[in-house]
């Protein structure tokens, strides 16, 4: 490699070219009157005119605040301290009037005697960066406003120790309560717990706000862990700073990194008032049940006492009267139960207490209860593979009971009732087949209606309010399933319902 010796003159021209074409405005001033000895293309563009070498700043600068600039230049010249300033310049220079931001630098230049003899003026256009910064700030402010103005609690929980997703649900749950803490939230969230602002509540551990033993909390979190770390409209039961019960409806999502849950983002809505009202309504329905059944219990008991007395006295006729009374009281009791269920459905208050349960085990349980209620029917059970179903065990049991009870009711002569369960297309399907009177085509569409009852040609209506199937349909559909029937008059009926597996 040949070492090239560039002489002073060539170097000078090299520097001059570089400065002339630099992407920033460069001007060199000399002397106390700040005479221009150099001005590059950018500087000329900035000033909106060609700078004449030899002219002073006073003579050339077309600025409104020329006096201010000269004052600064004088200060730099006199004290030898550099000056920096970021300024908005659209209204200041000739040329285009768009919003522009420039960093100005005035650097003192020293001679050989280390005395200031000139000033290096630099101006760099940072409009893009400033506008970018402004837009980011505006965007941040907009989001912050959304979050701050929201009436929903918005939060971020972090995990001191990330939770490995390969652990069992129970272990993940334990870790969540142990290591999760509130890292960020809005004021609305803090107010839900009785605090004034977010800063009062940030840092609290999950276990301090959410009761770890509460059923709804465990269920919500278990569901969250089982459903790909996302959950919507899940209820939680928590405590505020005064120890009062507060209830929330939550939506949240977990962030997984490297096979670990590292944080969760979510929102919550305060439903404490609704829960209170629900509780009151439930209490009312509970009281109503109790109050209605109490006199019925007494009447039934006395009816049966009288029945026994007349039997033991040998008065068969009167005893029969009392027997009929007793039968009617039973119907009254069933109607009370149905009416209360319907009331709950109407008000949307039919609540499902969902959990995982063994389907076939439930079916066998119901059959065991129902078989003794009939002497002339044989209930045959033919169950396929069982699966764990997620739903309200008692209510599903109620549906199965209703179907079997109908099968018995509508098969007046002795007969077989066959119960079958199979798994098909991700559904658990149960069928109840009887050899009874069957259902006509017109009625098939109406049997699930409220208050619809079947009737025979002899104009004898089958007892009941016609609520059983209506309630069963509601229960099944609330579980996301279907209920339907295959039937022919005189040939019996086969009722089906399906429940989704893997909800």
């Amino acid at each position: 490699m040949v070492k090239k010796t560039i002489d002073r003159e060539s170097r000078g021209r090299y520097y001059e070219r570089a400065f002339k074409n630099a992407p920033m405005a460069i001007a060199i001033l000399n002397g106390p009157r700040h005479v221009y000895v150099f001005s590059n293309k950018e500087n000329d563009r900035l000033l909106g005119s060609t700078t004449e070498v030899g002219k002073t700043v006073e003579e050339l600068l077309p600025l409104k605040n020329k006096k201010g600039i000269i004052k600064i230049l004088n200060h730099v010249y006199k004290t030898g301290t550099a000056f920096y300033k970021e300024a908005r310049v659209d209204s200041v220079f000739k040329g285009d009037q768009t919003e522009r931001y420039i960093i100005f630098t005035y650097q003192p230049l020293m001679n050989e005697k280390n005395k200031v003899d000139g000033i290096l003026c630099l101006a760099y256009d940072i409009t893009k960066e400033v506008l970018g910064r402004k837009r980011l700030k505006e965007s941040e402010e907009r989001y912050r406003t959304f979050i701050e103005q929201s009436t929903e609690g918005i939060w971020r929980f972090e995990l001191k120790k990330p939770i490995p997703i390969k652990l069992s649900v129970e272990e993940q749950l334990k870790m969540a309560f142990k290591y999760a803490y509130l890292a960020e939230c809005n004021d609305a969230m803090a107010k839900m717990y009785g605090f004034q602002s977010a800063k009062n509540i940030v840092g609290l551990k999950l276990v301090e706000i959410m009761i770890p033993t509460d059923k709804s909390n465990v269920q919500t979190l278990t569901h969250f862990l089982n459903s790909g770390y996302r959950i919507i409209n899940a209820e939680s039961h928590e405590v505020d700073k005064n120890g009062n019960d507060v209830y929330f409806l939550n939506n949240f999502v977990g962030i997984i990194e490297d096979g670990h849950v590292v944080r969760a983002w979510g929102t919550q809505k305060d439903i404490t008032e609704q829960k209170k009202l629900e509780k009151e309504k439930d209490e009312f329905i509970g009281i109503a049940t109790h109050e209605l059944k109490t006199p019925v219990t007494s009447v039934k008991a006395y009816t049966q006492i009288l029945y026994r007395k007349f039997i033991s006295d040998g008065d068969q006729k009167t005893a029969e009267v009392l027997y009929k009374m007793d039968t009617q009281i039973n119907k009254l009791s069933e109607l009370i139960n149905d009416l209360l269920d319907v009331t709950k459905i109407q008000e949307g208050k039919l609540k499902l207490k969902e959990s995982y349960f063994d389907f076939n085990e439930l079916v066998r349980e119901v059959v065991d209860e129902m078989q003794p209620t009939t002497e002339i029917h044989k209930i045959i059970v033919n169950l396929g593979k069982t699966k764990s179903v997620f739903g309200d065990r008692d209510r599903i049991g109620q549906v199965i009971t209703n179907l079997i009870s109908n099968a018995i009711k509508y098969t007046p002569k002795a007969g077989k009732i066959t119960i079958k369960s199979i798994i098909k297309s991700g559904n658990m399907i149960l069928s109840v087949k009887d050899s009874g009177v069957g259902i006509s085509k017109e009625n098939k569409n109406r049997i699930f209606e409220r208050l619809f009852r079947g009737f025979e040609k002899e104009k004898e209506t089958y007892p009941g309010l016609g609520l059983g199937l209506y309630i069963s349909k509601e229960i099944i559909e609330r579980h996301g399933g279907r209920i339907w029937v295959d039937s022919k008059p005189g040939k019996g009926s086969k009722f089906y319902f399906s429940l989704l597996l893997n909800k």
């Binding site: 059944k293 219990t297 008991a301 049966q304 006492i305 009791s333 008692d394």
Partner: protein, 119 residues
Amino acid sequence: MKKILIADDVVAIVDAIKIILEDSNYEVISTTDGSQVSKLIKQNPDLILLDIWMSGMDGGEICKKLKKDPKTKHIPVIIISANKDTKKIAENVGADDFIAKPFDLTELLDKVGKHLSKN
């Protein structure tokens, strides 16, 4: 003669059960006030019929107490209730059996007989 303790806050029901039990040759002690159960227990009944929902008193708590106390835990307790979830409630409080209101007298007598013969 076996002694049965009935606790239910409705007089009519207590009287009805009393009639039927006395007719079947049982001795009956009763109360409509749940707080009196601890007193009547001292008369050593052989079986207890306990209503869950008595005004102001939770029959479930009474049952739990009875089943915890070594002096009374051997006495069979049958829970009676108008609540739909009677079976679950009975299980939760440690009762030996349950009967839902309104009940059939035959069913009542059968259950009473069954639990008395166990002893």
